[in-house]
Symmetry: D2
Subunit: 270 residues, 4 copies
Amino acid sequence: KDVKNTLSVYNFKAVGIAPVLSQEAQWAKGALSALNENTRRKAIDRCKKAIDIARELGAEILIIWPGREGFDFPFTTNYVKLWNNYVSSIKEVAEYGSDIKIALEYKMEDPSSYLLHGSAGRALATILELRMLGIKNVGINVEFAHAKLAKEYVPETIVLISRYNALYHLHLNDIFFDADLDLFPASVHTLEFIELLYWLHEVGYSGWFGLDLFPRYIDAIEMVQQSIYNVKALYNALEKVGWAKIRNVIELNNPIEVQKLIREILGTKP
Amino acid sequence: KDVKNTLSVYNFKAVGIAPVLSQEAQWAKGALSALNENTRRKAIDRCKKAIDIARELGAEILIIWPGREGFDFPFTTNYVKLWNNYVSSIKEVAEYGSDIKIALEYKMEDPSSYLLHGSAGRALATILELRMLGIKNVGINVEFAHAKLAKEYVPETIVLISRYNALYHLHLNDIFFDADLDLFPASVHTLEFIELLYWLHEVGYSGWFGLDLFPRYIDAIEMVQQSIYNVKALYNALEKVGWAKIRNVIELNNPIEVQKLIREILGTKP
Amino acid sequence: KDVKNTLSVYNFKAVGIAPVLSQEAQWAKGALSALNENTRRKAIDRCKKAIDIARELGAEILIIWPGREGFDFPFTTNYVKLWNNYVSSIKEVAEYGSDIKIALEYKMEDPSSYLLHGSAGRALATILELRMLGIKNVGINVEFAHAKLAKEYVPETIVLISRYNALYHLHLNDIFFDADLDLFPASVHTLEFIELLYWLHEVGYSGWFGLDLFPRYIDAIEMVQQSIYNVKALYNALEKVGWAKIRNVIELNNPIEVQKLIREILGTKP
Amino acid sequence: KDVKNTLSVYNFKAVGIAPVLSQEAQWAKGALSALNENTRRKAIDRCKKAIDIARELGAEILIIWPGREGFDFPFTTNYVKLWNNYVSSIKEVAEYGSDIKIALEYKMEDPSSYLLHGSAGRALATILELRMLGIKNVGINVEFAHAKLAKEYVPETIVLISRYNALYHLHLNDIFFDADLDLFPASVHTLEFIELLYWLHEVGYSGWFGLDLFPRYIDAIEMVQQSIYNVKALYNALEKVGWAKIRNVIELNNPIEVQKLIREILGTKP
């Protein structure tokens, strides 16, 4: 309730709640997918409690980051049971929170060696499996850096997920190669980010954006501020050229014309 | 018919037919997903013809390797249309060949920069989408090397695909890093291959194996022979230890015990 | 001589000569590093002939792309001999062409599974080894896409190579992930390319640029033209902000200030 | 002195000393390469103190793991100064400890986004640069998992480093893809590990091995024990076949014969 009051004082709105399912020692060998039934029940219970909190705060989304749903060593795990446990836990959580959007935040690896929901495609398979069982409130939270770990091109991934009406939320940030340090959005993969913003516009995404940043030796408020500026500035660059014009060039499917378009978006000439 | 006769003379059986949908110039900008409707129709027609041939030869499987179903350049492609075209082409082919298993052979990249069916998860999403439309004869052909390009651990991937009864075929081979040179199966990722054979046994896979090899400066028949020997030898190593014993160790979910097991499978002691 | 005449008619200048050492069948198992001494001699001879041609045409650089100097299979190769052969071949070629710059074009892999000169660091080790023997005309040709295969950040790599006065030439292009398709320069890694141009300016690079492009279904002349435009446009964007200003911001070593700088270079505001 | 006494009681020998240069907050923006001169001096001083301790304990090696010698954000760093600082710090440390072997433990990335000594080649370049200045006590500590992050094939890397007499030490462990979790040696890349042991034998490596393991939920002593067993068992498998026989097969440079050899080493038949 204190949280609720504080939010209302500052006119903030809680959008998503993310239960801790990886950092604590109890989840070392899995949480929602744990082969230990006791541990798995605890993980489900924590998600249910998080749903209760989400309802109390008026938050629409429960974000599940499955950072321990996988394995660390080869030849050590019954993958059949692991997948069964994992999907049936998500099912139970989604049924409990049928009025809440359950957003799976896939990631290829780290902190475990290998994660079951490593890519958008794998999360989609679970989502469609659940839909065939009548459960329709499970979707995806795309974290830009995690998508890069899976060798995805994020603008295309967004379109694929939207094809299934499963794009529930985005975590904006960036990454160099494989060290997931939660850098400023668009500060590395700048052009990919511009195309991402274009396709979010085209698929009519109307949800929220989160910033998943890790400030370390930077002032945290400044990092958030510059991140917002980066996104807005690139959005403005697209608007200045105009959605219709960009759309027309893309319809040509001609990489020559696209080079001209990119230079125009970047506001520079040869 | 000549092919049919030759097969029968040698007591061979045609298992899978794979229409050419990537190497020819006409598919440079896509085949089943082509934005050019004329090209897309040609690709569908070729698949239908391949289904006719499969029926004639008594082959059970049509393998679709979507090597051009993707794109080469950023910001150049309408991904919404690309996915629509691709899935509806597969749908049409699958409906035409409703008595044939349509096996999608996913690959992350190469020869195009980026392929729609880059990973098992993405192929599964399409398969489940089609099942929701009543089409149940689309599954997967796992090529070991392609799975590695997607940073998959193949034993686990096999289990995931089997969860959806979608494991139609495997192409056995191996790869170093990212250059897809179709090496001898198990000649690089040996332990992973051993675990793969274990899980194929456990999920009760009863389909065929293909060898997708590229002999280059090696005698082709010798390469096939050694590839078969590699697989058989590793299968024998597992059998010698015994499926029940291996199963029991894996149930312990204890990496310490697994090290002992691996050394036993490899037939060596400290 | 015909080539020489044609060049002079069009007022073109031959900059670099690149002997074919990989695509032909004779180099399947290596050229300059070949374990077969006969093959290795042929490769050296070809390089010497290329040096003769370079002299005739007035070209300054011999580009060696060691696409077969490595191996395809594990456990098959005597790496000690491979490295000995390779370095002593380069030594012999460099001594023959002591008035020519020998530029090694490193690449991680493809067409062979694994290449000896996979990264800038490995090429530098050879270069410094040769310098200790008094051979000072061996350096590097950086191909942007190849550097990405080695997980290098190209602006930093340029600085490292320049530290050893070994930056002889650049091949400009771009790449998505690992499929080396020779895309337009700056068409994927746009921001990295901008920073690359900045550091080429700062280290005072005064050599030539080559475009290593693969037009496929694009008009080749158009592809070259747009590639030049891309590079010039980004250079202009840097000049507009001004080298001194950029330098001052980088000296601050503050990622917050850098975000502002990047937005200014991209000509857009939040 | 307490450490010294304890070591002698148990008849242990200190082999290497590794000063902490990354985990502490003071090194967040670099230690030996720090652009802040004050920080850089502190890092050098710590290395000198570690050399004093090494001398006191009779340890031969100082291991420098440069986990913060690089950068996190694009366009934020003067790479010229960074490299200058880094190499001159190593030089100063190596001169101070001229009777100690300074072993650089390269790593591609993590905990920083990008590290200067990301690969064996880059470490070798620094080592050769220092040799040209008369400093001959700098070499390499190869950590198996770090080499994999750089897409190296470790048996070949060992040979390359030995070519320069720079193989000072090894950290044995293993890794899945890119999450550096310090798994049991040979528990993932088993065949590569076997070939590594072969080449360590062939190049006559007579130094120490360290185990860089991260036990997490495993008993630490058991993890060390099984790691030693893994290495010994694979060494025994090689010995059983015999060094001469293996050497003879490798000299054939024929992948067909190698498949037979591998099956023999693994103690299994088709």
